[in-house]
């Protein structure tokens, strides 16, 4: 029973991989973009949901990752995977720097600081025409230049999501994951418990930013063009909505939120100008009726099903009262 949630996720993954070939080009594109957002949503949930750092610079890091890879593959002629890796490293370094600078910030102060950073990045990219091609957009090399369908991109995106979730999952289930959640709950108590709060916050910023850079790198080499709008505030708001609608305190629910919102927005296209108001109503209802996200109430029972009771519930009076270690 312990492996039930993992088994169900693996079965779902097998079904998705098996059925992907049947999607038409349009829905295949929607699915690939949903996966791009899923990597971003899960990594943002690592930062905002697990550590409680409400950063608004996540899409800026996706943008930095995409531009770094796009520019390096263009100017240095390095292979695309190496370019994407360079983008990830760049984002990790910048993320660590941002994490260090805003060590004592939280809540609205952190949000405004990271929003400021995000705008600086967007405006710099938009105005530095000579390097980034500005608003015209930077044309980037395609990951599968000879591919005739989008299927290879789908598999590549899926693999990146799987690896990202595996690594982030290992992190949140380790002692470091416990420390990150303790910091979210109470920084002062975490420090009193021996947790190196500053180091954990910086590392969390670096890791989450690295995954954002990975998603941005993939996006750059899938779409074939990077524009400053990748890192704008509308995109950040969409990412926050995806993560919150799914459930920001767990990686699988954040991923689910990205898929639900991306497919919902596409499905609502037939409502024309009413698309966004209808979506707004969904958002309002979620916040009113399911503040922990729409998918959390579905995911938690699954986790409980997988739990095993390793100790009977016994009355306090029957417990031994011997001083430990004596």
């Amino acid at each position: 029973m312990r492996w039930l949630p993992v088994s169900l996720v693996l079965v779902a993954a097998a079904v998705v991989l098996g059925g992907a070939g049947r999607l038409n080009a349009y829905w295949m594109h929607v699915a690939i973009i949903a996966i791009y957002y899923a990597i971003l949503a899960s990594s943002w949930s690592l930062l905002a949901g697990y550590v409680g750092l409400f950063s608004l610079s996540h899409m800026a890091f996706a943008s930095i990752g995409g531009y770094t890879s796009g520019l390096l593959t263009q100017s240095q002629r390095i292979p695309i995977p190496l370019g994407m890796l360079a983008g990830v490293l760049m984002c990790c370094l910048l993320g660590a720097a941002i994490g260090w600078v805003c060590l004592r910030m939280s809540g609205p102060y952190l949000a405004i600081f990271t929003l400021g950073f995000s705008e600086i990045v967007r405006i710099t990219i938009a105005t530095e025409d000579d390097v980034t091609a500005g608003m015209a957009g930077l044309h980037t090399e395609r990951l599968f230049a000879t591919a005739t369908t989008r299927l290879p991109y789908f598999y590549a995106a899926f693999a990146l999501l799987a690896v990202s979730l595996l690594l982030m999952g290992l992190l949140v289930r380790s002692r470091w994951g416990l420390f990150l959640r303790a910091i979210r709950e109470d920084e002062q108590a975490a420090a009193a418990s021996g947790v190196t709060v500053a180091r954990c916050r910086i590392v969390a910023f670096a890791i989450a930013s690295g995954f954002a850079g990975l998603a941005g790198g993939f996006y750059a080499h899938y779409i074939g063009i990077m524009t400053p709008s990748v890192g704008d505030l509308d995109e950040m708001a969409k990412l926050v909505v995806m993560t919150v609608i799914g459930g920001m305190e767990r990686l699988p629910t954040a991923v689910g939120g990205a898929f639900v919102v991306q497919f919902l927005l596409e499905w609502l296209r037939e409502y024309g100008q009413w698309r966004l108001p209808v979506f707004g109503i969904v958002l309002l209802l979620t916040m009113r009726l399911a503040r922990n996200g729409l998918l959390t109430p579905l995911w938690l029972p699954l986790l409980r099903l997988g739990e095993t009771r390793d100790q009977p519930l016994v009355a306090a009076s029957t417990l031994p009262r011997k001083e430990p270690g004596t």
């Binding site: 959640r181 420090a191 021996g194």
Partner: protein, 241 residues
Amino acid sequence: MSGRAELVRGVGLVKWFGGIMANDAVDFSVAEGDLVGLIGPNGSGKTTLINLLTGHLEADGGEVRVLGQRVSGRPPHIYAAMGVARTFQLTQLFGRMTVLENMLVPGLTRPHSTWDEVVRRARRHLDFLSLGHVARLPAKNLSGGQQKLLELGRCLMLEPTVLFLDEPFAGVHPRLREELLDRIRELHRAGRTFVVVDHDMESILRISQRLVVMARGRKIADGAPDVVRADQTVLAAYAGL
């Protein structure tokens, strides 16, 4: 404290909050095996002193030494790593984490700790504190008294050399207060060192071997409880006599 190692020492500690001097050149030391009661009226600077001695506040003057090493200005996790554990005036738990997870956090910060060993130790401490049956509950669901016990348990997971308990009996049901007192006594008999801050004079007098009294940011008495209780300065400051 003759012959016993000095664990924590604050020398001439000064702390200002705006124009108010919360601690005015306070000297305070605790030696191995002590069970010190720290009392004083509201606003006398007890919690400020605890915050300075555990690294949660930086002193404007004076210095803090732990096991003889100067640690003033270092972050609280350094104090915790040196065996200085504390609870808070208003209980500060990791509310949405389970009781067991609350215990695991400090345990896993210890060097060379392994997950299995820490879980075993946490369960042992939870049983000792009569919290074994709520190990899987979120900490925020516990009663006020159980939360105080859990905070004490979290301190024990650090394998501390000294525990500073800030108002452990405040708002606790009398039955659980007795339980808390029993646990503190048992732990002290087993060799733990305590500094207990509280307004509940009766509880403090029942357990402490040494009484320190503060008033208006200054230490006004330090000695055996019987002697301190009869001190006219203490009576004047504490009871307004």
